[in-house]
Amino acid sequence: MADQELHLFRDVLDKQMVDRNGRRCGKVDGLVLRTGEGPPRVARIEIGSGTLARRLSGRLARGMAALSRWLGIRGGRPYRIPWARVKEVDLNVALDLDADDSQLDAAERWVRDRVMSHLPGAR
């Protein structure tokens, strides 16, 4: 990405993400910074129901994580996207990733494979 200033809350958090193929793959649910030498830098984007829930309440976050673990979605862990994978931040946050190849779309795939594909006429 170009050398510029980025307003994290205004322009990144809660923004729509799209993958390499332009497919929508969630919104930025959380941002993780890394401190240490120099000013803090953005380490990664986090997504997942647990991350989202933590913005409301810690107990809810633990509940959502337990639910995700029980359903088998990423073992209840949030999905972490290293900042290096962000191609650009414009209308959407464009990622250098394939939603299908990664655990990014785990929840979507779960609903698709475990629920919707069993309904008549799905294919």
Binding site: D14, Q16, M17, R24, C25, K27, L91, R109, V115, L119
Partner: protein
């Protein structure tokens, strides 16, 4: 040339899609109980909706965002939850009422109890979404809904005293049942100013890839289309004000509704009414289910779109399936459809500020709309009508609940 065709289509679908069980029941009750005195409420609600839909289309075309997507992006997830929960909660009631409308139409047509028709109505709605595309749904059913123009014809044929109707354009105090009058005013406003409609509209604009070049068409569709749609709802009120008032009916029972057209047109009127009710409610059920699902999917960033195969946007299709099921279950609990409709419309009016306040802020945000931000007129009309609706709702809903 294609744009002209698209515009005509957009206008027709807006006209057809306006009337549904909410506006039908509230307008009929208003006409039956208060004559033409509540015409102003229908017109005011319609005016506000025209502004909101125009804004919604402009927002999508210029910012390339849908409204729920933008609300979360701009105000954060925590804030977004408030309108989300309100819309979903009230939305299930609205959807149940629309399914109830379909079931009532089927009962009137066949004589078989409406509770039998709840699941078939839900299944039909679901199948159309599962198997259909945006074209079939938005255009097909809405075009069929043009049958509701019959109410306009009937209103004229009923020879109302037009001077009296004109008098109803100005708000006036009723001489009886003040609480009931104002509650109906709120319900009418909630029926007209449907957040599902303008959220749905912004999704449609994105799906059809609107840009700045579509702004003129957007104005035409919202102004002309919804203007005519409002006229249809007003016609139901006028018709009820003549026909039902004369018969001394209060429309507390849905079986009184076909009288709107049977007095004038006998058997033909009956079948016209049944078809109008069934089709209009089916269209509204589809739209409400989709709109709620769009709000959820767009707020969470999922893949969405009616033109995609259901498995390509599994969480989105799961969402609308769940909503339809919830609506059907609510209906199967045996709730009175008319009472449910009135309550759903009134609660919609209460929840409007929660959805419209962020939307108005977005409409004035340079980063989303650049030079196409709202002018003061749009801001004023919407803020005033929604503010009025809220105040009235907060006063009248408790009274109505206490009064029975």
């Amino acid at each position: 040339m294609k744009k002209l065709g698209d515009m005509a289509l957009g206008i027709l679908t807006s006209v057809g899609g306006f009337l549904e069980i909410g506006s039908l029941v509230t307008s009929a009750q208003a006409g039956a109980r208060f004559g033409f005195q509540l015409v102003w409420a229908v017109l005011l609600g319609g005016l506000c909706l025209v502004f909101l839909v125009e804004m919604s289309g402009r927002f999508a075309a210029v910012s390339k965002h849908t409204i729920p997507d933008a609300i979360r992006e701009r105000f954060g997830f925590t804030f977004f939850l408030a309108p989300l929960l309100a819309l979903v909660g009230v939305g299930v009631m609205v959807l149940a009422a629309e399914l109830g409308g379909i079931a009532i139409a089927a009962e009137l047509a066949t004589g078989v109890d409406r509770r039998v028709w709840v699941l078939p109505a839900a299944l039909l709605t679901w199948l159309l979404l599962w198997k259909g595309t945006f074209a079939v749904i938005e255009k097909g059913v809405a075009m069929l809904s043009l049958i509701t123009i019959g109410f306009v014809v009937a209103a004229v044929a009923a020879h109302p005293r037009w001077k009296e109707v004109a008098g109803g354009v100005v708000p006036s105090a009723p001489d009886h049942d003040k609480a009931g009058y104002w509650f109906l005013a709120v319900a009418i406003l909630g029926a007209s100013i449907s957040p599902y409609l303008f959220f749905f509209y912004s999704s449609g604009a994105i799906e059809e890839k609107w840009n700045r070049g579509h702004l003129g068409m957007n104005r035409a569709v919202s102004g002309v289309g919804l203007g005519f749609g409002t006229a249809i709802a007003a016609s139901v009120l006028v018709l009820a004000g003549v026909v039902l008032r004369r018969a001394g009916l209060r429309v507390e029972d849905y079986r009184e509704l076909p009288r709107l057209l049977t007095d004038l047109w006998g058997r033909w009127g009956f079948w016209l009414f049944v078809a109008s009710l069934g089709i209009a409610c089916l269209g509204a059920a589809l739209e409400t289910a989709l709109a709620k699902s769009y709000i959820v999917a767009q707020g969470f960033g999922w893949n969405w779109g009616e033109d995609q195969r259901p498995l390509e946007d599994a969480r989105f299709s799961f969402t609308y399936s769940a909503f339809i099921l919830a609506g059907a279950v609510l209906l199967l609990c045996g709730v009175d459809v008319l009472k449910l409709t009135n309550l759903a419309m009134a609660l919609t009016a209460v929840s409007l500020p929660l959805c419209i306040a962020p939307f108005l802020l977005l409409m004035n945000d340079r980063r989303y709309l650049a030079e196409h931000r709202n002018g003061w007129v749009s801001n004023l009309v919407v803020a005033a009508v929604v503010g009025l609706a809220l105040v009235l709702a907060l006063v009248t809903i408790p009274l109505e609940i206490v009064g029975g």
